[in-house]
Amino acid sequence: MSITHSLTTSLSSSSSAFLAPSSFNSRGQVSLPVKSVSICKCVATPEAETAYKTGVTRNPNMGKLQAGYLFPEIARRRSAHLLKYPDAKVISLGIGDTTEPIPEVITDAMSKRSHALSTIEGYSGYGAEQGEKPLRRALASTFYSDLGIEEDDIFVSDGAKCDISRLQIVFGSNVKMAVQDPSYPAYVDSSVIMGQTGLYQKDVEKFANIEYMRCNPENGFFPDLSSISRPDIIFFCSPNNPTGAAATREQLTQLVQFAKDNGSIVIHDSAYAMYISGDNPRSIFEIPGAKEVAIETSSFSKYAGFTGVRLGWTVVPKQLLFSDGFPVAKDFNRIVCTCFNGASNISQAGGLACLSPDGLKAMRDVIGFYKENTDIIMETFDSLGFKVYGGKDAPYVWVHFPGRSSWDVFAEILEKTHVVTTPGSGFGPGGEGFIRVSAFGHRENVLEACRRFKQLYK
C-alpha cells in the first residue's frame, strides 16, 4: 500500500515531462538510467532559454549520480505498468517493505507515550540526540551483552539509511570506500553525493575510486580479500542485501583482520541480523578486535515493522580511532548533535517495548512469518529449476537468470505476472543476471505470486 503512495508522490514530485508517453518504453533495450538522465536534460533545456536562473553552480557530485535512486525508479515503472493495465492486481515483492501489523505489545507503548505527551507530567520536548538512556541501555544488553559494547557507545537514530548518510558526513570527501558488489545502493550513492568518488564509468557500471568487492556464488558471496586494494571505509552488510548471504565467523574474522592490517574502518550493517538461522555471528563485535576497526549500524525496520515508524541505531566503540588517535565516536557525536535532533520520542518508546521479553517474542514471531514466506519463494524457484541463493538468513531470495539482463527479467515478470521484483543490477554490476525477490508480503499474496511464477516459468 505504501508503494502506491510512493507512486503517486513520484508522479506529483516529478516534472510531467518525465512521464511523457513518447519517452517511456517498458520493453526498451536501452539502459533506463541513461534515458532518465536524458529526460532530465530535456526538461532543463527549454526552461533555461526563458526562465530566471540563479548563479549557483549545481553540485558536481549530484551530477555524477546515475538516474534516480533505485526504489523510486521501480515505483515509477510499476506506476507505468498500472497505467497500461489498470485492472491488474499487482503484487509487490520489490522494495523490502514490511507488511504485517506491528505487535500490540509494541503499539501499546507508543500509544501510551503519545497520550502522555498531552499531560503536564508526561510531556517531553527535545531528547538527547543520542537517544533516551533506557533505550540505549536496553540495546546494549539485548544485542551486545558480553561483547563489551556499552550504552554510551550506542547512538539511536531515525533509521539506518539516515545513519549511513551521517557517517559519510563524518568521514568527509577524502576517503576511499569499498562495498560488496552487489550491495544496498545507499552506500554507493551516499559516497557519490559526499564527493568520495570519481565519475560513473558506463562500460563497467562502476564509479571511479570505489572498490567493488565482488560477491558471487563462486566465492560463497564473500569477497576475495587478497584481491582488494586498500580502502579507508568498508561497507559490509551481513546478512547481505540483496544476496541474503550471512558471513561466517571465519569470514568475519578475516574481514576484521583485513581491516586491521590496512588500517581501515568497517561499517557493518546488521539490519537483517535477527533473520540469521544458524550460528553465524549476528554482530561484528562478536569478532575479537572488531571494536578497534568497526562501526555497526542497525534498524528496527525489518524486525518490528518499523519501516514507517523510523528507529535504528549505530554503535561506534570508544576504541575506534582515526590515524591521529582522535576517537571516531566523538566526531559522530558532534554530527549527531549538529545535524540531527534525535529520533521521535514516540518511536523510541516503541523501540524500548520491542526489547522487553514480550516484545522480543513478538518480533521473533513476525520474523518467523516472513521466514516462512521466504521458504515458500525458495521452494518455488527451486522446483522450477532455478539456482536460488539467500533465503536462509534473510527475507530475500536471490535468483539467477544466467545470460539475461536483470532489468529485462524484471520487465518480463512485471509484464506477464504483474509481480514487482528488483533487478539485480540495481545493486551494482555484480547483481547482473540475478533478481531479488522480497519475502515481505501477506501470505496469500506470496502464495499467489508463486503461483504466477510457476505459470510463467513452468
Binding site: V56, M62, I95, L117, Q130, I193, D232, K318, S344
Partner: protein, 449 residues
C-alpha cells in the same frame, strides 16, 4: 594534531565528568579508566571536523548546567536556555497519533515505508495552511523530521564548493553545517569567525537587518525570520530588499521560518509572500515550536520548481534525490499528528500554545525593561535578547547561572555579533517564568545598588 599524551589527558578529563543528574545526557564522550590508546586506524580525520570550534553550542550549555548541579545539588535550576517547548500537546493531536498507532497493529491500518517526501495529505495540508494564495504546490513541499536535519540535507545537496552568508548573530547550525560540509575556511579566533563565511551583522543600529550594500556576494544566504536569537521579524520591505539582492547576485536564500507562528505584527510569515521569491528562495520550517513537536520530530522544506541552478537544472530534482537516498521519511506517527495540527481545531489549539509562550515572553520583557535594561525581541518570537554593554556574554551567562540558578544562552554562541547579549527563552511553565523574573529582578537590582 592529536598525540597519545593529549588523548590520554583527554580521557583523564572525561573521567572527571560529573555523573548524570538529569535525564538528558551530556554529549561529552565518556570513557573509563581502563581504556588506553590502542590500535589506530589509518583513516585520516575529516579536516572539516577539525575546523569546528568547541562542541555544538547547546550541549556546551548543558555541560555547564551539569557542572553547576554538581556544585549545587539542591539548586532549583530553571532552564531558559535551549528553546525547548514545555507545554503538553493538545489532545486533538495526541489522540490522532494514538489512533494511528493503534491502526499500525491492525491488518488494515498498518503502513510501512511512506514516500520520503511525506504523506500526500500532509504535504497538501501544509501548502494550503501556510502557503495559501502563494502558489506553492504540494509537490514542492517535502516533509522532514525537523528543520535542523533539513539544513544539513540542504548543505549536502549544495556541496562544498560555495560560499554562505549568515545573519550575525544566528542559529549556529547554519555555520556548523557549513564547516562540516567543507564550505568554510579556518576559524579566526580574534574575529570569532570562519573564513569564507559572510557574516551579515544584524544589530539594533540597523534594525537587526543586514546592510546589504556592504555584503559580498555568496551563493547561499541563510536567513531566519523571526530570527533566533534576536527575535526580529523582517518587514515586508526588508524581505523585498533581500529577494532583490539575491536576484541581482544570483544567490539562493534558505529562509528559516521556524518561528513564523509567533509573528504578531504584519511582517511576512513566509518568504513567498515576496514577489519573485520562487526563483531565488527555499523555505525551511518546523512543527517544533508552534506545536511542541520538539521531541516528536516533524518539519518541512519548500523548494519551488522555478528555482534553478546556473545551468538551468531544477534544484527541486536534486533535493528529491537527496531525500530519497539519505532519508527514509518522517515517522508516520509524527505525520499523523502533524496532519491533526492543521485541522481547524488543531490550528486553534496551536494558537493557544503560541499565545501561552508569548505571554511568558511579555512577562520577561516587562521584568527586564523595568530594571532599565535594553531588551529586544519578545514581540514576534519566544526569545528575549538582552543587552549587557561592555560585558562578555559567557561571563553574564555564568554569573546568572551562579547567582540565580537560571540557564540562559550567551549571545556569542550565536556568532560574534551576539557578544554582550544574552538570549532568554520564553519556553517554560508560567510559574517558572514568574519565578525566573523575580530572581533576575533581584539579581540585577542587587547589581545596580
Amino acid at each position: 594534531m592529536y598525540n597519545s599524551s593529549i588523548c590520554s589527558f583527554m580521557f583523564s578529563t572525561n573521567i572527571l565528568q560529573p555523573r548524570m543528574v538529569i535525564a538528558r545526557l551530556s554529549c561529552t564522550l565518556k570513557t573509563h579508566q581502563n581504556v588506553r590508546i590502542g590500535h589506530c586506524t589509518k583513516v585520516p580525520r575529516n579536516v572539516n571536523m577539525e575546523k569546528l570550534q568547541h562542541g555544538y553550542l547547546f550541549p556546551e550549555i548543558e555541560r555547564h548546567e551539569l557542572m553547576h548541579l554538581e556544585m549545587y545539588p539542591h539548586a532549583n535550576v530553571i532552564d531558559l536556555g535551549i528553546g525547548d517547548t514545555t507545554q503538553p500537546l493538545p489532545t486533538i493531536v495526541t489522540s490522532s497519533m494514538v489512533d494511528f498507532v493503534h491502526g499500525l497493529s491492525t491488518a488494515t491500518g498498518y503502513k510501512g515505508y511512506g514516500p520520503e517526501q511525506g504523506e500526500k495529505a500532509l504535504r497538501k495540508a501544509i501548502s494550503v495552511t501556510f502557503y495559501k494564495d502563494l502558489g506553492i504546490k504540494p509537490s514542492e513541499v517535502f516533509v522532514s523530521d525537523g528543520a535542523q536535519c533539513d539544513i544539513t540535507r540542504l548543505q549536502l545537496l549544495m556541496g562544498p564548493n560555495l560560499k554562505i552568508a549568515v545573519q550575525d548573530p544566528s542559529f549556529p547550525a547554519y555555520i556548523d553545517s557549513s564547516v562540516i560540509i567543507g564550505q568554510a575556511g579556518k576559524f579566526v579566533d580574534k574575529a570569532g569567525k570562519y573564513k569564507n563565511i559572510e557574516y551579515m551583522t544584524c544589530g539594533p543600529q540597523s534594525d537587526f537587518f543586514p546592510d546589504l550594500p556592504t555584503i559580498s556576494r555568496t551563493e547561499l544566504i541563510f536567513f531566519n525570520s523571526p530570527n533566533n536569537p534576536t527575535g526580529h521579524a523582517a518587514t515586508r520591505k526588508q524581505l523585498e530588499q533581500l529577494v532583490d539582492f539575491a536576484k541581482v547576485n544570483g544567490s539562493i536564500i534558505i529562509f528559516d521560518s521556524a518561528y513564523s507562528a509567533y509573528i504578531t505584527d504584519d511582517s511576512p510569515k513566509s518568504i513567498y509572500e515576496i514577489p519573485g521569491a520562487r526563483e531565488v528562495a527555499i523555505e525551511v520550517s518546523s512543527f517544533s515550536k508552534f506545536a511542541g513537536f520538539t521531541g516528536v520530530r516533524l518539519g518541512w522544506t519548500v523548494v519551488p520548481e522555478e528555482l534553478l541552478y546556473s545551468n538551468g537544472f531544477p534544484v527541486v530534482h536534486d533535493f528529491n534525490r537527496i531525500m530519497c537516498t539519505c532519508f527514509n521519511g518522517a515517522s508516520n506517527i509524527a505525520q499523523a499528528g502533524g496532519l491533526a495540527c492543521l485541522s481547524p481545531e488543531g490550528l486553534r489549539a496551536m494558537q493557544t500554545l503560541v499565545d501561552y509562550y508569548m505571554e511568558n515572553a511579555r512577562i520577561l520583557v516587562d521584568a527586564l525593561t523595568s530594571l532599565g535594561l535594553t531588551v529586544y525581541g519578545g514581540k514576534n518570537a519566544p526569545y528575549v535578547w538582552v543587552h549587557f554593554p561592555g560585558s562578555k556574554s559567557w561571563n553574564v551567562f555564568a554569573e546568572i547561572l551562579e547567582k540565580t540558578h537560571i540557564i540562559t544562552v550567551p549571545g556569542s554562541g550565536f556568532g560574534p555579533g551576539g557578544e554582550e547579549y544574552i538570549r532568554i527563552s520564553a519556553f517554560g511553565q508560567r510559574d517558572s517564568i514568574i519565578e525566573a523574573s523575580k530572581r533576575l529582578k533581584y539579581l540585577i537590582y542587587q547589581e545596580q545598588n
